[in-house]
Structures are given as structure tokens and as C-alpha cells.
Amino acid sequence: MQLIKSDTNIDFVGKRKIAIIVSLLLIAVGIVSLISKGGPDYGIDFAGGTLVQVRFTEPTGAAEIKEALKGMNLGSLVVQQFGDDKNEFMIRMENTSAKLKGLAQSVQEQLAATYGSDKVDVRRTEMVGPQVGKDLRLKGLKAILYAMLGILAYISWRFEFRFAVGAIIALIHDVVITLGAFSLFGKEIDLPIIAAFLAIIGYSLNDTIIVYDRIRENLGRHNKEGFSFIVNRSINDTLSRTLLTSGTTMLVILALFVLGGGVIHNFAFAMLIGVLVGTYSSVFVASPILIFWEQRQARKS
């Protein structure tokens, strides 16, 4: 089977102005959403707080649970259904308690008193103090920053500096759009999402490098045709691979998204957006940047 014929020559490079507008629009939507919500919606890993995941033997509702916990003075309280069943819920509180008898335990006791102790099964509790949350946030940012610096160095060494710049801009593009999508869909950012971001960085980079590699190869071959032609030829040469690999990766991410369960759900969501955007960016962002760079150099000299 062959999806892309060997003589395919789509003018990707010619559409780069439209691509830039689309990218800027996506980024703008994300940033507007981020600003209107006052920054990313951090989960308890980064904001600090307490989380209790409870399974009841019988279906109940978020409102009933809130009612049961009303007298406890818990501060801001979010109750969400977990997964598809109406009997499993996540209770999230902003408050934390450093005492040995934690908040989670008090919540558990209160629920047991309301619903009956054999009807409540606490499956997971998490408490992250504000200081630890701050540390984790810093660590996560550092991880992303250092990963990008390492990549910049590696690509500068293997290719040229302008390639590295193109790759990094494409990466920032991907991460910002994914971040915006998270804000838009009201999803929380916690530790596994940082892992997803780094996986997106790795994946998008993978994609970009394969196109770059072809550009480098074609630069030697078609010297007369001009830089934009070569870039466009290279994107077309690798198009079949780009689509197939993105396709198989999307297949497994969809499997994770649908079957992986609540904890993995947001992770898969991030990857879903990230792989889509990453594939798009290696064709429409990373490569055209090389052309812009080339044109600026030409104008200067």
C-alpha cells in the first residue's frame, strides 16, 4: 500500500504565510484562555492541596458528597466523577494539613459516618504541601528548560545553528499550543503532564530532525534549485514516513486515551494534542523558519 505517491509535490513552503497565521491564531487562543483564567490550572502536585479518590458501593453524586462534607470547613472543594462509573469520585481540596492525622483521613471518616463505613473505599489519597508543590513546579520547569538547551546543543553540533533555532521554535510552538489546549479544556497540569510535555518535545523533535536530515542531504544534491525548493522537496520526500509514524503513534495514544483509565487520561490527552501539533509544526513551522532565516541572510548581504 502507498498513501503518498512518489512523485507527490505539494507546495508546503508556498503556504507558509497561511501556516504562520494559523499557528499564531492557535497560540493566541491558548494565551487568551491562559490569561483569562489567571495562568495554567495547576493540579495538587504543583499548587499543593489534598486529593481523595473514593469508590462507593452504590452510585452517588458530587452534590451529595459535597453536602456530606459541608460541616468540615475544608475551604475550596472540588468533587469530580472519576472515570465512567457514577460511584467513583475525586475530592480535591486546596487546604493541606501537616499534622500526623491528615485532612484526607478526616474526610474519609466523615464520609464513612455519612454513607456507612463498609460502603466507602478510599482508593487513593494525595497531600502535597505548598512548599513541595513549589519545588516540584520549579523542577518541572527546569526539566523542560534543560531538555531544550541540550537539544539546542546537540542539533547545533550535528547540523547548523539555524537548524537548532528552527527546531527549538517548533518545540516552543508545540508546548505553548498544548498548554493552551489544556487551559481551554479546563484540564489540570500535574507531574505526569510534565512527562507528557517532554515526550511531546522528544516526538516533535524526532519528526523535525527527519525532515532536516533530508534537507541536509538534498542540499548536496540539488544545489541549483534554490533553498525553498529543496526544503519543499525534502518535506515531500519524507511525507509518507511522517504520516505513517504519526498514524501509528496516534493509534497507541488513542488506545491509552480510551482504555488507560482515569490517571492516564490527561496524559494521553496531552500526547494527542502534542503529536498532532508536533507533526504539523515539523512541516509548517520548523522548515519554513529555515527559509525565513535564509532570506534574512540574503537581504543582509
Binding site: 492525622k101 494525595e126 504541601g129 541540550g150 537539544i151 512527562a195 493509534l251 492516564i264
Partner: protein, 532 residues
């Protein structure tokens, strides 16, 4: 068959056998012979998969410094009295300062001399105070305070380790982290609340004399005579379970501490059939206890644990055997836990819970089955896509993919790495991305075939040209994974581990193994058309 194929085939075979050997304990568990199970451990599951508790405790080292200053102030007090130096009082102030207040310059000079002789490491400063008094301020040097803090964390870690050992948890992890933090991981723990109470209890045991002639009502309003403090005596009603707290005023000065304990055990009081904790002092403690009881016959002595009075019995006679008992309407589990913490020793400073993640075993079980389901479904989808797109060559890639997953599992178990839920996601992701290398190779081969090359030549060129691209692409991803490993914590680290292992394994299977299969089938055969 050419020699090179034989050797390469053998390499693949050996790797496969080794991989299956190390994976067997994970898959088959107890049905294997004992030597096999001893040789390789099954894959280590993270807390999120097997259930358990992840705790980060912060040691309040300021308290350790303060309590050092307290004990210094006791020593200084005793010395000043011994040397007959007249002073108004000694107090501990904010920031670990010890202040001696004297009436005149003479006394000031005497205190200076005494302090310089006995506590040369203290940094002193003299300040005039209101009412003509002179305040002598002494402070621990920065370095000394740091040493105390460092020692407190080390001792807390040691004590917690003893307590966890006594509690009986298999494969616990206790680690010191930066910023006076201690990380504790207890896999498979059944009763997390009890474990927290046991590990985190300061368990500072003090014997203090009761100040009988203080008006309790006044004391509750905050009017306490100097040198006394208000505490509460805890009592649980056996029938109703209700806890009552009775106020009681004691002298602040500790007459005897639990540091001098040698042993603590649970006993049953036969009269009331009630558990109590019997404690035995060491030689020094026994002597002090003997002196203390002898000097205070007829008075009440409060047994104080972490600022709660457990009992305040009247001393009827001098006790010289060096043993005493703590009774306070315990349940038998409370008594057992109290004996454990007393035996393991008290924490040098109170601890705070900074992070607590507890996963019940049922959730972990669910996560594993869901994770495995998504690996299987995801893999099947990829297998179908590859075979549809590349026919027989796709089948070769699929074989490489299966080997890839087997190798990832084997490496996880050989390196003793921990598999977490994000780690499973990492494997699934690797499955999706691992075929990329084969896709790159196959696309190149197709290009060469289109140019009219013979199948073998096309394969050779395809592998050759794709190689550097694959290396560049994978090494950068590996770079991101390694950074993640360095900065990640807990479950996220698990993701970095499987991603890194997956990249290495996929390089081997997609480039090396798939080539061996092609060569094996194409060897000495004139193939005119490649199924690709």
C-alpha cells in the same frame, strides 16, 4: 549461509534467551524453580501499581536547636548556682538565644569567665537592659547550629528506620533529601494512618513534677506562675470511647527524660485486664529515677509524652529497680505502638508531613490491568497498520516490535528498575514510535527500488541511508528522556526509565534484528520482488 548472518543470528538468539530467562519470574511467578526466582527478581512495581505510601517528612530542625539551647540553659543554671554567682534569671529567647540577666558589672564579668571556660563555642554579647540590669546574650555559632540540624535529621532518619523495621514492612525505602527532608516509601502497606502515626510521632517522653498549688482556672486563662506549664491529661472512657482531657499544671523543668530508657514492653494489668507499657531505665536513668522518687515521696509525677499527660501517679515510695510503667487507658494496639516508638527512641525534633501519596491496592490492580489492555490494543493496531502498509516487510517490523517489548521488560527486570503507571504509558508510546525506524528504512528501500535497484542492493542502501537519520532522531529523544530522569520524581521517573530503555531496545530491534531477518530470508535466494 554466510558466516556473518550466523553470528548475527546467534547474537539475536542469545539476547532473546537471556530476555525470556529474566522475564520468566515476572510472568510465571511461583511456578518456577527456586534458583531461577533467586537469580532474577520480577519487575519491581512502583507504589502507584502495587499500592503503598509515599511520604516526605520535614524535620523541624529549629526545634532541635531550641531544645539544645534549653539543655544548655539547664547546665548554665546549675553551674551558676554551684559557683554562687548571683543572677536574676536565665531565659531562652527567639532565634536560639540564651540570656542570663544579672544585677551588676561584677556578676557580668563572673558570668563571662564562667561561660568562656565551660562553653567556649558560644558567641556572647552584653547589652544593658531596662531597670539597670545587664543582659548577657549567648548564641550558638552558625556552624554549631548547622551541625545540630544535620545531626537531628540523621538521627530522625535512624529512629524512623528502627520504627519501620519494628512495624514490619517489606522493602521499605528511607532516604534523606535536601532541605532537612526525609523520604519514606512503604510498599503494600495496609494501614497507612497507623504507619504515619508510628513513624511521625516525636515520642518525647518526659517525667515532670505536678505543680499542685496552682489554680487551674487561673492557669487556663493564661495566668501561669513562672516555670510552670499547662498540659492536659488524656483519658479514654472504655465503654463509650469518649476522650476526656483534664487540665493539669506541671513544672516546665523536666526531671527525667526518655533518652535514658533501655527497653519498653507491653504488659497486661491483670486486675483490670488493661494493657500498659512497662519501661526499664538504663543504669544512669535508674539512678536518677531512684533519686527523683526518693526526694518526692507523696508528690505527683506526670508522665508526659509529646506534651500530653498520660498519667500522673502519686509517688508512694522510693523506686530503685529502674523500672516504671505508663498506664493510660490504652487499646492494645496503642500500647504496642507506644512500646515500639519508645524502644526505637524519640525523634530529636518534631516532623511535619510535606507530601503524602497513598494508593490502595485495588486501584493499583486496576491500573495494571488497564495498562496491559492498552499495550495489547495499541500494539495490535500498530501491527495491523504495518502489515497492511508494508505486507511481508511489515511482518518483519512487527516481529522486531514484539522483540522490542520483550527486551524492554527484560531490561526493566535486569536493571531492577521500577515500573510505574506513567512507565506503562512510556512503553505504549515506545511501541508507537519504535516502528518509526522501520518506517524510515522501508521508505528508503522503496525509493531505491523505484530507482530500479535490485532488492538486496535496495535493502543495503535503505538501511545505510536511514541509519544516521534514525540515530539523530533517537538520540535527541533519549536526551529529553535523560533530562526527565534527572529532574523527575516518583512516577514520572518511571516514565523516563521506560522511555530510555525503549529507545535503546528499539534501536537494536529495528535496525539490527530486522536486518538479520531480511538477510536470513534473502540469503542465497534470487528474489526479484520485495514484499514491501
Amino acid at each position: 549461509m554466510s558466516k556473518s548472518i550466523k553470528i548475527r543470528g546467534l547474537v539475536v538468539l542469545i539476547c532473546l534467551i537471556l530476555a525470556l530467562f529474566s522475564l520468566a519470574p515476572t510472568v510465571m511467578q511461583d511456578s518456577l524453580p527456586g534458583w531461577w526466582q533467586n537469580a532474577v527478581d520480577p519487575i519491581h512495581r512502583g507504589l502507584d501499581l502495587q499500592g503503598g505510601m509515599h511520604l516526605v517528612l520535614g524535620v523541624d530542625v529549629d526545634k532541635a536547636v531550641e531544645s539544645r539551647v534549653d539543655s544548655l540553659s539547664d547546665q548554665v543554671d546549675a553551674l551558676l548556682r554551684e559557683k554562687d554567682i548571683v543572677f536574676k534569671r536565665i531565659e531562652r529567647r527567639q532565634g536560639g538565644r540564651l540570656v542570663v540577666i544579672v544585677y551588676d558589672a561584677d556578676a557580668s564579668a563572673q558570668v563571662d569567665a564562667l561561660m568562656a571556660e565551660n562553653f567556649p563555642s558560644l558567641e556572647g554579647e552584653t547589652l544593658p537592659a531596662r531597670g539597670g540590669y545587664i543582659e548577657k546574650h549567648y548564641q550558638l555559632s552558625q556552624k554549631e547550629a548547622e551541625n545540630i540540624a544535620d545531626y537531628a535529621v540523621r538521627q530522625a532518619l535512624e529512629t524512623m528506620r528502627n520504627r519501620v523495621d519494628e512495624f514490619g514492612v517489606s522493602e521499605p525505602t528511607l532516604q534523606r533529601q535536601s532541605d532537612n527532608r526525609i523520604l519514606i516509601q512503604l510498599p503494600g502497606i495496609k494501614d497507612p494512618e497507623r504507619a504515619i502515626a508510628l513513624i511521625g510521632k516525636t515520642a518525647r517522653l518526659d517525667f515532670k513534677m505536678v505543680a499542685e498549688n496552682v489554680d487551674i482556672a487561673e492557669a487556663q486563662k493564661g495566668n501561669l506562675p513562672a516555670g510552670t506549664q499547662l498540659l492536659y491529661e488524656r483519658d479514654t472512657n472504655k465503654r463509650t470511647g469518649a476522650v476526656t482531657e483534664t487540665p493539669i499544671v506541671v513544672y516546665t523543668k523536666t526531671s527525667l527524660t526518655g533518652d535514658l530508657l533501655e527497653d519498653a514492653n507491653v504488659r497486661i494489668d491483670t486486675r483490670y485486664n488493661e494493657p500498659y507499657v512497662s519501661i526499664d531505665f538504663n543504669r544512669v536513668g535508674a539512678k536518677r529515677f531512684d533519686q527523683l522518687t526518693a526526694a518526692n515521696i507523696g508528690k505527683r509525677m506526670a508522665i508526659v509524652l509529646d506534651d500530653t499527660v498520660y498519667s500522673a501517679p502519686v509517688i508512694r515510695e522510693r523506686i530503685s529497680g529502674g523500672s516504671a510503667q505508663i498506664s493510660g487507658s490504652f487499646t492494645s494496639q496503642e500500647a504496642t505502638d507506644l512500646a515500639i516508638v519508645l524502644r526505637a527512641g524519640s525523634l530529636p525534633a518534631p516532623v511535619k508531613i510535606l507530601e503524602n501519596r497513598t494508593v490502595g491496592p485495588s486501584l493499583g490492580h486496576d491500573s495494571i490491568s488497564k495498562g496491559i489492555k492498552s499495550i495489547i490494543v495499541g500494539s495490535l493496531l500498530v501491527v495491523a497498520a504495518m502489515i497492511i502498509y508494508y505486507n511481508l516487510s511489515g511482518l518483519v517490523a512487527v516481529f522486531a516490535l514484539i522483540l522490542n517489548v520483550v527486551f524492554i521488560g527484560a531490561m526493566l527486570s535486569l536493571f531492577g528498575a521500577t515500573l510505574t503507571l506513567p512507565g506503562i504509558a512510556g512503553i505504549v508510546l515506545t511501541v508507537g514510535m519504535a516502528v518509526d525506524a522501520n518506517v524510515l528504512i522501508f521508505e528508503r528501500v522503496r525509493e531505491e527500488l523505484r530507482l530500479g535497484k535490485a532488492p538486496k542492493v535496495a535493502l543495503d542502501l535503505g538501511y545505510g541511508k536511514a541509519f544516521m537519520t534514525i540515530m539523530d532522531a533517537n538520540l535527541t529523544t533519549l536526551l529529553a528522556a535523560l533530562v526527565l530522569f534527572q529532574f523527575g520524581t516518583g512516577p514520572v521517573k518511571g516514565f523516563a526509565v521506560t522511555l530510555s530503555i525503549g529507545i535503546v531496545a528499539s534501536l537494536f530491534t529495528a535496525i539490527f534484528v530486522s536486518r538479520v531477518i531480511f538477510d536470513f530470508f534473502l540469503n542465497r535466494r534470487q528474489v526479484r520482488r520485495l514484499s514491501i
